[in-house]
Homo-oligomer: 258 residues x 2
DNA sequence: AGCTACATTGCAATATACGCAACGCAAGGA
DNA sequence: TCCTTGCGTTGCGTATATTGCAATGTAGCT
């Protein structure tokens, strides 16, 4: 489709795995050395790769800087990081930090159980999450203004992933009302039947909900009820992160008890 | 130099900052829409960008996954992360985690002071550090085998950045002996005259030094002596991280007191 | 020194990526 | 309802940017 760009992408992939000399690069791509050189020089100018003293090409910092730029508010990650790790230890479950970015909700951090035999969830930093079939999505959606909510949902085509999915606007709105009232959301296998979550919102200094923390477990490991037992810890974590972002609880209406 | 690749890189940069429609992308690049489309499709196939429901292109997870792949042992970062953040709080100084990657030493994590008025150091995750003119470089070098040390230094061309730089192999070797004896290294403005560091080694389960933690401050903020006062905290941190990696202290010879 | 293996440059050929124009499609207004 | 407008998408001929070659430069090794 775009040969030279494809070659450049392949080269980046190779370099990310393992340092490469020019000749190796040319061999692997199946092109002449001069061709490989020109691609690498272009990538080098963008700092996507870097030339070492030994003459090999290695991964450059440009890509990492881009990732951080795209994940946006590094502030949020920096502030949240330590708290997420504490929460992981306290609960033993996988912790996610998701953020509203443009029209989507994207994972910006993830803390797995460090145990080697632990189940690694397929979620990945940088990936978008379903906005209506996830605990983080629902808890963020529930705390946005009506206009914002409409905007985010206007392009969505609802899909019933499992029997518990809220697959139409009416039932979703009813669920979001419940979520807004109690201040946290669950995911009862709404996207993947065996994946359970609880999520709590994170607010910035203006009191706006801009992100969410969640605890995730597959049902064999922990039932939804078992996850809910960790709610106090989860809510404490989200409150601490909000505080770090400059949020002062008294400046906003308290969630009504339901 | 490689026009289409350059255009692709520009597009990635734009998309990382802010979602883009096809027409906008074409306008900004100054090319026809069909050209922009083909570039975006290629990038999309590599998951470097992703198409949202609304038809805009946004940053894809492919780049982030690449970054994580390249930063290698996510294990180290996961294990170290919480400890680095604690150390930052305890000391108030910038904390770096640097790792031996191939022939070079690369920053894999960094924790700045969260204060808004704090000086942000120009170091960046993913960037290579001078191997002989940095505290992390020296402390890693000092604990490698002679062959490894020779290999890493064989391609180096020494440069006297400041008056304190160890700019030749003999004086560097003498310094490395001192570092190995006491188990930690300093950087007395050896690369940038006003930047001070102390660094301690991190060992994996085999007892091999594979990384280092450091505390950094510019001289106006803290003198080298003030940094040294934090040494107990630094050494505690590096010991804790090493333990998490499976290192058992008794299995290795204790550093001799100097 | 001479050899080998590598990176780099200049240049001509052509494959490749480009712009154009036509098409498809959806949203909004008359 | 139909027309208009603005978007993304496809096919195609052309020209330009990219390629491979061959020659040159450079460094490490015997």
């Amino acid at each position: 489709m775009a040969q030279s760009i494809q070659r450049a992408i392949n080269l980046i992939r190779l370099v990310a795995e393992h340092p490469l000399t020019l000749s190796e690069a040319a061999d692997v791509l199946g092109v002449h050395k001069s061709t490989a050189l020109r691609i690498l020089q272009t990538l080098e100018a963008a700092r996507f790769v870097r030339k070492t003293g030994a003459g090999t090409y290695v991964f450059g910092s440009g890509l990492i800087e881009l990732s951080e730029l795209a994940l946006g508010s590094m502030d949020l990650r920096q502030f949240a990081s330590a708290h997420l790790r504490v929460l992981q230890r306290q609960t033993g479950h996988t912790v996610h930090l998701a953020q509203l970015a443009g029209d989507e909700i994207v994972y910006v951090d993830k803390v797995d159980s460090p145990a080697f035999d632990a189940v690694k969830l397929p979620s990945r930093i940088g990936r978008a999450v379903s906005i209506y079939a996830s605990a983080v999505g629902k808890v963020i959606l529930a705390h946005l203004s009506q206009e914002e909510r409409d905007r985010l949902l206007s392009h969505v085509t609802f899909e019933r992933y499992t029997s518990t999915t809220f697959a139409d606007r009416e039932s979703l709105d009813a669920e979001l009302t419940r979520v807004a009232e109690r201040g946290w959301a669950i995911d009862d296998g709404e996207h993947d039947a065996y994946v359970m979550c609880v999520a709590a919102p994170i607010r910035d200094s203006r009191g706006q909900v801009i992100a969410a923390v969640s605890l995730t477990a597959i049902e064999v490991i922990a039932s939804l009820d078992q996850l809910k037992e960790k709610l106090p810890l989860l809510l404490e974590t989200s409150a601490l992160i909000s505080q770090e972002l400059g949020f002062t609880p008294e400046s906003s209406p308290a969630p009504s008890a339901s």
